[in-house]
């Protein structure tokens, strides 16, 4: 038994999730494949979105996969880091904008 919650080697086993529920896994991987094809957004644009989202959801597997993918799509390090800043700005902004919620509630209950 591996003694880490996250093991880089496990990324290779992603396809095996179908062992416990094949039908849903097959549908997921087919859908995943379609999502990342060139379409109204290019595969390249989708790759940098995926890299940003990987950071927002803080998934080490996705960060590993989409860092390599971003390089393979020709992005520079500066572009990759800007994508992470976009994710961070949205995450930070999302937390901060809830400050309005807090203010509303505070005003409701305060004298």
């Amino acid at each position: 038994m591996a003694n880490h919650y996250y093991n880089s080697e496990d990324l290779k086993k992603f396809g095996q999730v179908g062992q416990f529920q094949k039908e849903m896994a097959d549908k997921f991987f087919a859908w995943y494949g379609t999502v990342f094809q060139d379409s109204n957004l290019s595969a390249k644009e989708k790759s940098i979105i995926a890299l940003a989202v990987a950071h927002a959801v803080q998934c080490p597997y996705c960060i590993e996969a989409y860092t390599a993918d971003a390089y393979e799509k020709g992005y520079s390090e500066a572009q990759m880091m800007e994508a992470v800043h976009v994710a961070s700005a949205i995450k930070g902004g999302a937390a901060l904008v809830h400050g309005v919620q807090m203010m509303n509630k505070a005003k409701e209950i305060a004298m």
Partner: protein, 349 residues
């Protein structure tokens, strides 16, 4: 940075590299032999098609010591082709008009003292000549400053590496200051007419990944290179060739030292493309080493895998034997068949 040979690294020996590639020294790593993949694609044994490219590596001497170099080239390497071997190449070329393209590589081919003479002699035979110029050589010494004019005079196609359109990534792979010198060299080539859209003087750039990843799509990256080099430096070039790094020599050493070897091999194997395998460059190329030995390609040359036929040296050149031989393949060949494939002219599909 020094060559593997200068540092007495065991990977300076071709047999050591082959031992790692073919009989993995790594536990839990047992990659599928390249031969099986070719068999599945009905391509084994791999046979030549019409051979029309005569690639000559005129020496391992280079003014640079790039981290990924598959030649293990550098200023310390003294192995360069002599005039007698060059003359043997010329004799073979003149007897075999089927070699319509002569591709000169190195090291830095320009550092061979007989380089200009050799080019002039090949030009008399009326062949398309390619010189793989590392760009910085044009700035390395006054004696090279007139090379762009020399290339122009002989209508040479110049093919030059530029790993990225920014300084940081280029210098990390090729050494400090290489990006700035490369930009200055492209400027010199542009000034004599190279690289302009309407010009017949072709300047093609080569992109190869600065790390353990595969190259980007050639068309897309070419557009970005063109835009960046024009916007930032008002430079032009014709085509961008995207090349995959093959896991041999200094790049193999780097892969192992950085812990990327298995991951990279897996990546290459998973990206195996039968269409790319059908078009690998060894099917239409013959590669000659500085000392006149014959190989399927520049990579097999560095692994010292001479042709699998009695024509092993330029002095034994027999086109029938060469045409009828089997090409020697190994695990390093996965580098030529990943994704859109890779050759000295970039993607192959």
């Amino acid at each position: 940075m020094k060559s593997l040979q200068a540092t007495q690294n065991r990977l300076a020996q071709a047999q050591e590299q082959i031992a790692i590639l073919e009989h993995s020294a790594f536990e839990h790593f047992d990659p599928i032999p390249f031969q099986y993949k070719l068999e599945e694609s009905s391509l084994y044994p791999l046979r030549p098609k019409e051979i029309n490219i005569f690639q000559i590596n005129i020496g391992k001497m280079c003014n640079q010591v790039c981290k990924h170099c598959h030649v293990d080239a550098g200023p310390d390497r003294k192995e360069i082709m002599d005039q007698t071997t060059m003359q043997q190449c010329l004799d073979i070329l003149s007897a075999h008009p089927q070699f319509s393209i002569v591709d000169l590589t190195g090291g830095a081919p320009e550092m061979n003292p007989n380089f200009r003479w050799f080019v002039e002699e090949i030009a008399k035979l009326n062949r398309h000549i390619i010189v793989r110029c590392n760009l910085t050589i044009l700035r390395a010494n006054k004696k090279y400053y007139d090379l762009p004019e020399f290339y122009k005079k002989h209508r040479i196609e110049v093919v030059s590496s530029l790993p990225f359109y920014n300084k940081d990534r280029t210098d990390r792979q090729r050494g400090d200051g290489v990006f700035d010198d490369s930009i200055a060299a492209i400027k010199m080539l542009n000034a004599v007419g190279y690289g302009h859209e309407e010009s017949s003087l072709k300047l093609n750039l080569v992109y190869n990944p600065a790390g353990a990843f595969l190259p980007a799509s050639q068309t897309e990256l070419e557009r970005e290179f063109k835009q960046a080099l024009w916007n930032d430096y008002q430079l032009v070039f014709n085509q961008l060739f995207c090349i995959t790094n093959l896991p041999i020599s200094r790049y193999l050493d780097w892969l192992i030292q950085s812990g990327n070897y298995e991951r990279y091999m897996d990546k290459l194997i998973n990206a195996y493309n039968p269409a790319a395998a059908a078009n690998v460059m060894c099917r239409n190329t013959i590669s000659v080493s500085w000392d006149g030995y014959l190989y399927d390609c520049d990579f097999n040359q560095m692994l010292e895998l001479t042709l699998a036929c009695p024509s092993k040296h330029i002095s034994q050149f027999n086109i029938q034997q060469i045409q009828n031989r089997d090409i020697i393949v190994g695990q390093h060949c996965y580098g030529c068949t990943a994704g859109a494939g890779s050759s000295c002219g970039g993607e192959v599909v």
